[in-house]
Structure formats: structure tokens, C-alpha cells
Amino acid sequence: MSAIGQCLVAFVFGSVVGLLVQRSRFCNTAALRDAILFKTYRNTKALLVAMIILTIGFTGFLTIGEGNPMYFDVGLNTFAGLFIFGVGMVLAGACTVSTWVKTGEGNVGALWALLFTFVGMFLFSLVWSVNYWPPAPASMTGEPNLEALQLGYANAATLQEKLGVPAIVFGIVQAAVLFWIYRAIRRKEEAQAERHRESQAGAVALAQPAE
């Protein structure tokens, strides 16, 4: 596909995503923050359902050698970077998706967060230009490089290649784990709802005048 074609496909995909996220109020930050702080799981459940579908879809196509998986080495920087990101998204009250979507709704705070995300990226580029860590894509080998705190590259396709087990098998295992988490959340919600019903029934009984 030509570069222009790719840009058009990306724009159409982004537009539909923007519309669906705006209408559903989905927020990745809320999916994690609300589960941790408020024990509410509206967004967490949606995230888990998406991950189950994607795991089956991606690993299914990887099994037959189709798809365009991400290809770069990972390491300590992957954990540390997302840790910093996780703190930042809770403080900003928005993630990479909701900054764009809320900006589209006229939220000036989200636009401000977006601008400072750009500033943060530029500041990082200054530091990287001095220490060259983590390694640039051109110097990635796919193999562990402990000196640079890199573990290399592995996904369902490389597992299939090394172990001779179809990628979809690993995908089904991961999807089952995600579904187990989803079911545990549903049970927790049902228990919460039951307690709520009982406490309301108790309050109504107390409010009834004695005969």
C-alpha cells in the first residue's frame, strides 16, 4: 500500500475510533484508576473484552504468517517507561486516546496535556541525543543485550517458530486468562449489587411504621 493509502486508512480508522470512544466515554486511564481507587470496572471490562478479541485475532493470523506485528527490542526501558506513563496518565486524568478525544470535545485541559506530552517527548529526545539509550531501532538485533538492559524480541510468532506450537494455542491460553479476570470482575460486581440490594431492603424495612 502507498504511503498516502496508509495515511487514508489510518485517518478513517482513527475517525471511527474517535467517534466510538466519544460516544462510549471509554477511557484507558479510568479502566485502571477506577478499578484501583473506586473498585468500579465499567472501562476495565471493555478493555478486557477488546484484549480477548485481539488476542484471538492477532495470534490466529500470526499462526498463518499474516499481519504486521510490532518489531523492536524491549527491556528495562519498556517497564520503566510505562511506569512513568502510568503515573502521568492518572495525574493528567487522560491517556493518549482520551487527550485527543477530549480535545475534540472542547476540553482545554486535555489539549494542555497533549501539548505537554509533546514537550515531554522533545525533552526526552534531548537526553537520548546524549546517552543513546535505549538503543535506536537500527542497532536492535532481536537478541538479549544485557549490557544495554535489553531482552530482545519475542511474540506469539517467535514462540511458534521456536517451539513448533501454533501461535493460536498460546493465544487461546492468554484469552482464557483474560476471560477468567473478566469473570472474576463480573462476580465481584454481582456481589456488590447484591449487598447494595440487601442494604436498601434493610433501609426500607426500618422506615416502615411498626404495627
Binding site: 484507558n28 493528567a92 494542555w112 535505549p134
Partner: protein, 165 residues
């Protein structure tokens, strides 16, 4: 009914199911949904406007992200902005909201900076974590999910402290 669609809040499970199916098509055509890469390219393009050729003195912008306006990931973000704007206008939910308290501005500024630094340090954003690497069973997906969960937990503790004053 299309008008009904813009009156009610959509169940996020339905929205995310649709997004996941579209993301599988994206994975087959170009690559899975991602936001951080496009944002970095936009940062480079904006920096180029202000700095011109001086930007090339920073190796990051030649070795890691050479500014290129035809980088497809940019257009996912612009599409999200456009889609959200159209949706907000059609559902009469578009209006200018400005944070009122200074503490909110401070938190958003620090949060934005940390998100930008974190994305570039990791080479991955939250979208690639949950909608790309994780489902591809990439080793980085597990590192990233562990990192973002730990970060969100620490962030939530800080947020709670601030809320409690």
C-alpha cells in the same frame, strides 16, 4: 437510528468490541492501533518548524524519528480528533471546558510531561500496550502492562492524597 446513536451513551463493551475488530483489519493492512509513534513524529515536525535544520544536531531526530509528514500513525491521532469532534457536535456535547483550579493545571502539566517522557523511554504507549503488543503476546507487552499497572497504582495514591487535601 443514527440520531438515537448520538443521544445515548454507548456501552463501552460494544464500542471496544467494534474497535477491536477494526484493529484486526489494521493489523492485517498496516499495523495495530498506536498513538505514541504518531505523537512523536508530530513533535519532530513541530520542532522542525521552530528549529529548521538545527534539529538535525539532535541525533534522536535522525536515528530514531526522522520527521516525515507521510508517517501513517500521525493520521490515526488526527482521525481520532476529527471523529470525536464530529461526534461531540452531533450529540450536542461540544463545549469549551477549562480547568478552574491551579492544582488541576499543575497536575495536567506534570502528567502530560510524564506521559511524553514515558512513551519515548519505552518506545511504546498505552494503546500499543493493550491493543498491539499485549494481544500479539510480545514480551514487551507483559513488561509494559506490569509497568503501567504499577504506575497507575502509584499515580492513584498520589491522586488520592491530592484529593484528600
Amino acid at each position: 437510528m443514527p440520531t438515537e446513536f448520538f443521544k445515548k451513551t454507548l456501552d463501552p463493551v460494544i464500542a471496544l468490541t467494534a474497535i477491536a475488530i477494526l484493529d484486526i483489519f489494521m493489523f492485517l493492512l498496516i499495523g495495530a492501533w498506536t498513538v505514541g509513534g504518531g505523537e512523536t513524529m508530530m513533535t519532530g515536525l513541530i520542532a522542525q518548524v521552530f528549529m529548521g535544520d538545527e534539529l538535525e544536531r539532535l541525533p534522536f531526530w535522525t536515528l530514531v524519528f526522522d520527521p516525515d509528514p507521510t508517517y501513517w500513525k500521525i493520521y490515526i491521532s488526527l482521525g481520532m480528533l476529527f471523529g470525536a469532534f464530529v461526534s461531540a457536535v452531533l450529540s450536542k456535547e461540544f463545549y469549551i471546558r477549562v480547568p478552574r483550579r491551579l492544582s488541576e493545571w499543575v497536575m495536567i502539566t506534570i502528567g502530560g510531561l510524564l506521559m511524553g517522557i514515558g512513551i519515548r523511554l519505552a518506545f511504546v504507549c498505552n494503546v500499543s500496550t493493550f491493543f498491539g503488543m499485549g494481544p500479539e503476546m510480545n514480551m514487551g507487552g507483559y513488561l509494559a502492562i506490569s509497568g503501567i499497572l504499577a504506575g497507575a497504582w502509584v499515580g492513584s495514591l498520589i491522586y488520592k492524597k491530592i484529593l484528600e487535601g
